[in-house]
Amino acid sequence: MEEIEQSLITDEHRASIGVKGEPIQVTVKEADAHRMRDLLGDTDPRYADGTGIAPPYVISALGSPRRNIPGILPGGLLTQQEWRFTRPFRIGETLNAVSQVIDIRERLGGRYGYSVLITSAIDFHDSDGEHVAAVMTTITQFDPKRARNND
């Protein structure tokens, strides 16, 4: 296995930390809420058709507005995540999603040898500017070809 001898995190990557991306509009869609609810077997009456309220996990369907996240290595696995809800999602509402990179760090050792951990955050606000929800995500980027155990 070829070892990486120097950091792949560049000054450009470091400069992206803390920089907020442009707001991206995402819509809470009834079809997403319905499909996810059915798949999970969620019968909570609050989220039933016609209530206008979406279950919290519909946040998974709000796209991936993390467009300013650098791709340093080709593979990626979700390693940590936090969801925070200020209020329920309303079906049909459009939210402004603003993302930013919180941290970039590297790790030597483990399953993938050398990996880069990128933590990013997305905040969702409604059209009145009120906070609705937030996501914080850490993705471990790695090169599958360098994996120690490719079973």
Binding site: P56, Y57, S60, A61, R84, P144, N149
Partner: protein
């Protein structure tokens, strides 16, 4: 069943729940018309990532955790915050058992907050470990 703050105690356990993730389920979760990680549906793509088969999406597991705690709380309970560590990848077709217990009870700004630890167990070992905060109503 509605759960009330006064009826909950630290170390109360949630009834374990088995889920069997499949590649189809992963596609349906995100919607078949939406782009997703190829490793969610293709065991060979998963193997190229060093995983033993098709990868179970972390977001699907987090949605299961959210629903699991929400169902325990009842429809007047509100999941406010989930923090999850994905400790190792799960492979489609392998059963996962959700289990949880209450670790803290407190009042914050007049709200009844219950904190739970929830895990997904694969072959008895935690593959996902979550801390979840849920608000419960009072009986009064």
């Amino acid at each position: 069943m509605q759960r009330y703050f006064e009826d909950v105690k630290v170390n109360d356990e949630l009834e374990p729940l088995e889920r069997i993730p499949t590649a189809d389920m992963a596609l349906d979760f995100f919607g078949r018309d939406n782009p997703t990680n190829p490793a969610f549906a293709d065991a060979e793509a998963g193997k190229r990532m060093g995983i033993a088969g098709a990868l179970v999406p972390g977001l699907l597991k987090l949605a299961w955790v959210t629903h699991y705690v929400g169902a325990w709380a009842g429809s007047e309970g509100t999941v406010r915050n989930l923090r999850v560590a994905y400790r190792r990848p799960d492979v489609a077709g392998n059963p996962l058992v959700l289990a949880g217990r209450v670790v803290d009870l407190r009042q914050e700004d007049g709200r009844n907050v219950v904190e739970l630890e929830v895990v997904t167990l694969a072959e008895g070992e935690p593959s996902t470990r979550a801390t979840v905060q849920v608000e419960l109503p009072s009986r009064g």
